[in-house]
């Protein structure tokens, strides 16, 4: 094709991608850089600093290091990610995927049931769990544990972190199951056949064949679920708003509360920058692990 035509193509491609680039630059790249700048000022929504924010250097970051609430929020986020995404969703998702490998009549139904929680909007999920975990002897969970002779509990007050972990595991089993199913389906049936011939028991098959060959899928799952679990806001906010007394204040909720309830924009931004850096770090690992071919 002619050189003129090719030049026209090049310009057209630039023109077609431009609106997307502009939007991403305005609403993602610029705010990310702006957060770094704001974190170096004492900007706030109230008080004298609201009118003319001052450049305070790394003050917000030094404050961060000595702020017990920040460390508590970080710890809560860590346990939340560890127990809900890395352990709970993964174990139950992998178990479901393996148990559902065998075909039986109700398999599509079970599959749909396990995926349902993933499809529900966050607010509705929070509402349903508010009813599940309601205190008093009529709460659904209290009714269930009563069969085992357990006294009625105030679930969200007595075990707040455990409960949001239970809620988040519930929400994520389906996603883990889908990925594990696709990982499992790439393992050749012949390997299992051969292992069975050699008289391997199911546990050995799992340890020596399934697990090693699943490692790439597991690794990608861990990266993806870590960043997406750190980003969780609505599900927990709608259920507890970070309470009681900050016991479920995940890092995202902490940023929100610091910025819009305590009005400390500068300080909130410093927390945001920490989260941003960590997420981007995992994102880099992800890009490398995928070896994306573009």
């Amino acid at each position: 094709m002619s050189a003129k035509f090719e030049r026209a193509e090049i310009w057209r491609n630039r023109f077609l991608i431009l609106p997307s680039m502009l939007l991403l630059a305005t609403f993602v790249i610029y705010p990310a850089c702006f957060a770094v700048y704001t974190s170096l000022t004492n900007e706030s929504l109230t008080g004298p600093a609201a009118l003319n924010p001052r450049f305070v250097g790394l003050d917000n970051y030094t404050k961060l290091f000595t702020d017990g609430n920040f460390w508590r929020s970080l710890a809560i986020t860590f346990w939340f990610v560890l127990f809900s995404a890395i352990i709970g969703q993964l174990v139950l998702g992998l178990a479901s995927a393996m148990l559902l490998r065998r075909r039986f009549a109700l398999r599509p139904l079970v599959n749909a049931v396990i995926l349902m929680p993933n499809a529900v909007p966050e607010v509705v999920a929070a509402m349903m769990w508010a009813s599940m975990l309601a205190s008093g002897e009529y709460g659904t969970l209290n009714n269930i544990v009563a069969w085992f002779g357990v006294e009625p509990q105030r679930w969200l007050t007595s075990f707040p972190l455990t409960m949001i972990i239970v809620v988040n595991i519930w929400r994520g089993i389906g996603f883990a199951m889908i990925l594990m199913t696709s990982g499992l389906s790439s393992i050749s049936e012949e390997l299992y056949e051969a292992a069975r011939m050699d008289g391997a028991n199911p546990r050995q098959v799992f340890r020596r064949i399934t697990l090693p060959l699943l490692v790439p899928t597991l690794f990608l799952y861990l990266l993806v679920s870590t960043v997406s679990t750190i980003a969780i806001f609505g599900l927990v906010f709608a259920l507890t708003r970070g309470g009681p007394a900050g016991a479920t204040e995940l890092i995202g909720i902490y940023i929100y509360n610091q910025s819009f309830n305590a009005y400390q924009l500068g300080y909130g931004s410093a927390v945001a920058v920490v989260v941003l850096t960590f997420s981007l770090f995992i994102g880099m690992l992800y890009v490398r692990a995928l070896k994306v071919d573009v």
């Binding site: 075909r103 995926l115 349902m116 509705v124 009813s131 609505g234 910025s259 992800y286």
Partner: protein, 299 residues
Amino acid sequence: MAQVRETTTAAVTRYGLLLLISIYCIMPFLWLLVAALDPNAGLFLKIPDSVSFNSFFRVFFEEDGMLWLTNSLIVCGGATVLVLVLAGFGGYALSRTRAWWKRPFLYGIILIRVIPPTALIVPLYKIMLTCNQAIAGVVRPIAGPEYYRQVMRIFGFIDGYFGLILLLATMQLPLALWIMKTFFDTVSREYEEAAIMDGATFNQRLRRVLVPLAMPGLAAAGLFAFIAAWGDFLFPLTFISSPELRMLPIGIYSAFLRANQIDYGLLAAIAVIYTAPAIIAFALARRFLVQTFGGGLKG
């Protein structure tokens, strides 16, 4: 493959475990469905004395539910359409170009996907505020004081449809661009080249060749964009404050907060109506889910 026969113990363990997991997954839904049909619903799960669809009718005729639904449909519909247009063209360009910016842009997209929206919320608020003032400066002299509020409700960035649509669309763009780019990679250039040989202009190629070919990709990109925008809680919470613009998630959330005067039946009915499109879209998008894992992260 022929299935190996299972021992009884293995079968009991398998179905027992699956039953437990299923109960865990389905249990919370029970209350929502029962409460939506129970005229005297409360926060607790109970067998209703009578069943009626009254709550569902009331959502449409009496309460704010209809308003919330309309607002959600406008904003999420608008965002989805915008994503489709931008990602359709952008994905095409990304797939066909050999320019230097292609690789950095695609890596950039993946990195953007890992940024938690909460980390951007403060600077975003300030940017939206600035845009809002700029729009207000234009709208005020044109619309005059009596229509100023109405016009701002549509074009405003804070407490307005337009800003929220742009923002929600931008957040879904990276995944959609990725999906469309990978999709166009699989569409052979030959169709297009044949059209070029026949002397078709870009517009004709677009209408006759590219859009029909791109339909499956657009379906996947549109479904994921809609699901994410429909379920989003943080942005409507932060950028919408007037009751007239309230969307479903915030309407439900704030109604649920008024602890002692909640009409649980009505609220459950609204929640069911809110959940239905999400579940339908998810069911349709399910088969694309694994493919997006490659580059777009959790859909």
